[in-house]
């Protein structure tokens, strides 16, 4: 007897339809899974056997062959447990085969028959929708992701529940909202930052224009503190963005039952020992890296020069294209990675430079090596570079400054203006191509003259000029102007890379 169930395997960020065929033959009890199943997938045998018995169904005493088709695609993970169980039950006619075929299935089985969530549910549900299935039997915890894909979830907590539903004995189980999905822990608030007027202003511009920001300065001056407050002033994600970001986090297995969807811009701060694969993504069946996990959010590289140079250089492609293509022997995947890069760094290895109260003890050679670590090409990709000086004691005692909420309102208004108003050209300022920048409403002749004069006087490259123009546009949007005026260009110019970060 033969029966089929349908599921999907996650490949990169996409899902590939997989048919689970179960064939019962002969009278000698045996169980084999074929079709390039990896180790976790092979171990499904034991879980499925225990699960079926725990669900008070009968384990067929026959020779059982399960084939995962297409056989050429490598199957990874434990999400095939539930479809394999359903295919076997369907082959032994314990559940109606036509019902099983009408549903996709996804989930891991516990030995007691409970259904556990697996990573990548959103991608799988989108795959199911594309292959014309509108219902997925899945773990209760995956229901929110499935719903986001526009597919009806059949949330089950136990295999027995799935069986009863497919037999028509019970209606589709309700989606249990055990508790309100917890709001992600609030980002730290800007009102904690005393002083730092220039740093705060740069943060606001970065948030409004989606610009990359580099904070440089002696240790302990609050660079990281400022950087960590960026997510708190970013507008919430839009629906399309929620789907994109949740898909990536789902595939990486980072979603929990408490916050099943990513609705706020993600914030990723990998440690500086991170490898290139950890940053851009990799692994045998490529998985997204930190850069992709920060898609539509913030990627903070604290102590930028401490990162391995290959890891930093690998970021140049996603900064330009907003995506990373990872090629491995087992496959090739493109991960979106349109993040806002925030870096922090000291001005020299010992950290004394730029601090009036300390003295730099670095030898010129050591300083040169430190600067060489950051290529000009990478520094050039930061739209805003701000030197964060040491705050004096009386600033720390100053009254609390403006809170994140107020800043965020201005940021949202500015983004609106960048999108809709006369300043608009594309959705994101940083998505502009250099060519488009040339056509920016650099509006007043005074503004473009100022920029030209700056190019003559200051070490500004062509890319630097475009970058200044972009930041000026954001400053204009924040100021509520409908054209870029000279003061906006002048402000943007004050955030260009200072000479200390470059080799002399």
């Amino acid at each position: 007897m033969l029966a089929r169930a349908v599921t999907h395997a996650v490949v990169g960020l996409d899902a590939c339809r997989v048919e689970v065929e179960a064939h019962l033959q002969g009278q000698v009890p045996a169980f084999a899974i074929v079709g390039l199943a990896d180790r976790a997938c092979q171990e499904a045998k034991e879980r499925v056997k225990s699960g079926i018995k725990s669900a008070e169904c009968e384990w067929p005493q026959r020779r059982i062959i399960v084939n995962l088709a297409p056989a050429g695609l490598r199957k990874e993970g434990s999400g095939f447990d539930l479809p394999i169980a359903l295919a076997i039950l369907s082959a032994s006619r314990q559940v109606p085969p036509d019902q099983v075929r009408a549903h996709a299935a996804l989930g891991e089985l516990a030995l007691d028959g409970r259904v556990r969530p697996v990573r990548g549910a959103l991608a799988v549900a989108e795959g199911a929708r594309r292959s014309g299935l509108d219902r997925i039997v899945c773990a209760a915890e995956s229901a929110a992701e499935v719903e986001l894909a526009g597919v009806v979830p059949v949330p089950v907590r136990h295999l027995a529940e799935a069986v009863a539903y497919l037999r028509g004995e019970i209606a589709a189980p309700e989606r249990h909202e055990e508790r309100e999905p917890e709001r992600p822990a609030a980002a730290p608030d800007l009102s904690d930052v005393r002083g730092q007027e220039r740093g705060r202003r740069a943060l606001e511009i970065a948030a409004a224009g989606g610009h990359n920001l580099l904070l440089a300065g002696p240790p302990g001056t609050g660079k990281t503190m400022l950087a960590r407050r960026l997510p708190g002033i970013l507008p919430p994600l839009m629906r399309d963005e929620i789907v994109e970001v949740t898909r990536i986090h789902s595939v990486a297995g980072l979603l929990s039952a408490r916050c099943p969807l990513v609705t706020t811009p993600p914030f990723r701060a990998p440690h500086h020992s991170a490898s290139m694969a950890a940053i851009v993504g990799g692994g045998p069946g490529p998985r997204p890296g930190e850069a992709s996990l920060a898609h539509r959010g913030v990627l903070l590289l604290d102590e930028l020069p401490e990162f391995q140079r290959p890891a930093l250089e690998a970021l140049r492609q996603p900064i330009e294209d907003g995506a990373i293509s990872v090629a491995r022997a087992a496959g090739h995947a493109i991960f979106p990675a349109r993040f806002q890069l925030v870096g922090t760094m000291n001005l020299c290895p010992c950290g004394g430079r730029g601090d009036a109260g300390a003295e730099c003890s670095c030898s010129p050679q050591r300083l040169a090596a430190f600067r060489d670590k950051l290529s000009r090409a990478l520094i050039d990709r930061f739209d805003l570079v701000v030197t964060v000086p040491r705050a004096r004691a009386h600033e720390l005692a100053a009254p609390a400054a403006e809170a994140s909420e107020a800043v965020r309102e201005r940021v949202i208004a500015a983004r609106e203006r960048l999108r809709e108003g006369s300043l608009a050209r594309t959705t994101e300022a940083s998505e502009l191509l250099d060519r488009a920048v040339e056509r920016l409403p650099l509006s007043t002749t005074e503004a473009s003259e100022l920029l030209d004069r700056a190019v003559e006087r200051l070490p500004l490259s062509g890319r630097g000029r475009a970058r200044v123009a972009r930041v000026a546009r954001t400053a204009a949007a924040l100021a509520g102007a409908d054209r870029v005026l000279p003061e906006h260009v002048a402000e943007a110019l004050s955030y260009r890379s200072p000479s200390e970060l470059r080799a002399p």
Binding site: L347, R353, P364, P389, A475, A490, E491, S494, P504
Partner: protein, 326 residues
């Protein structure tokens, strides 16, 4: 006397010679030395030789107690450049942003007034001094502590090229001589010897810049020292010089006055009212952006625009987050 032979012999034997050594080896070397061929090879490489006996040899340098047998020259400048009134600006290689700023501004003012700026092409203060003179299209002379054909340190190669275009690079060492620690104090005597006055910008105790100052004092040249913080090791050398009676340098005009020159009056650049208030605050004291924001009570955006305006007008410069009025 064959000075070129002395220089060539010193290069070949790795020694430092001021006059002909009374050795057989030198006598043998002179017999086989083909001065004309050597000079032709120098010329091929764009180098020149200025012997001590030449009338164009700088008189100030000739008057020191151990003048070199001659100088190798590289660059477009005439030998007469070396005889023009010159000031040496020297200091630490690992200087602070303040030191770099003072060296540069000082060199600009002095070069603008027509003085030649002499220094040692080292990193830090030396390099900034050369750059300052080049900024205003002035003349600058770099004295090397290695063979005339070498650019040392390599990171200043581009700077050396610009100096050669606008001024002179000189060395008492023939092509091919490697840099060695003991040659730098010897180089410093030429730096001091070429200049009528020496400005020490930042110097640690027992540093090369102090050697230059000592040599200058021995030859009766004026020594200016830039006062620094008494707690900073980088200024310990300068402060020690001041204690010994060096002239405190409070403005480049102090040096100009010594030469009987007047500082070039800076034309007033019209600036916006915001920028004017920022400039006034900076003339009081250098400050970070955040301190300025509080002192002037300007919005961060307005302040940033004002600072850019002042920087473009050349009235303010920024280093390590600290702004200074020029």
């Amino acid at each position: 006397m064959n000075e070129l032979a002395i220089a060539a012999f010193a290069a070949e034997t790795g020694s430092h010679l001021l006059s002909a050594p009374p050795t057989q080896r030198f006598a043998a070397f002179v017999r086989t030395f083909d001065q004309r061929a050597y000079a032709a090879r120098l010329e091929e490489r764009g180098l020149r030789w200025l012997p001590r006996s030449d009338a164009a040899f700088p008189p100030l340098l000739r008057s020191i107690h151990d003048p070199p047998p001659g100088l190798f020259l590289r660059g477009s400048g005439e030998p007469g450049t070396l005889a023009a009134p010159a000031v040496a600006i020297v200091g630490a290689r690992a200087c602070s942003a303040y030191g770099a700023h003072v060296a540069r501004v000082c060199a600009r003012e002095l070069a603008q007034a027509g003085l030649v700026v002499v220094s040692g092409l080292a990193r830090g203060v030396d390099g900034e001094a050369h750059r300052g003179a080049l900024d205003v299209g002035g003349t600058t002379v770099a004295v090397l502590g290695c063979g005339i054909d070498r650019d040392y340190p390599a990171s200043n190669r581009e700077l050396a090229r610009r100096i050669a275009e606008a001024g002179l690079i000189v060395s008492e060492y023939a092509p091919g001589v490697e840099p060695a620690p003991w040659r730098f104090p010897a180089r410093n005597r030429i730096v001091a010897g070429l200049a009528a006055a020496v400005v020490v910008v930042e110097a640690r105790e027992a540093s090369g810049a102090l050697i230059t100052a000592d040599l200058a004092l021995e030859e009766g040249r004026d020594v200016f020292a830039v006062p620094g913080e008494i707690t900073s090791a980088l200024s310990a050398g300068c402060n020690a010089l001041l204690r010994l009676g060096a002239i405190p340098l409070t403005s480049p005009a102090d040096v100009l006055e010594h030469f009987g020159l007047a500082a070039t009056a800076r034309p007033d650049v019209p600036v916006t009212p915001y920028a004017a208030s920022v400039l006034a605050a900076l003339r009081e004291a250098a400050a970070t952006g955040d301190e300025l924001a509080r002192r002037t009570e300007l919005e961060a955006a307005t302040l940033a625009a004002a600072l850019t305006e002042l920087e473009l007008a050349g009235l303010v410069i920024e280093a390590e987050g600290v702004y200074r009025a020029q």
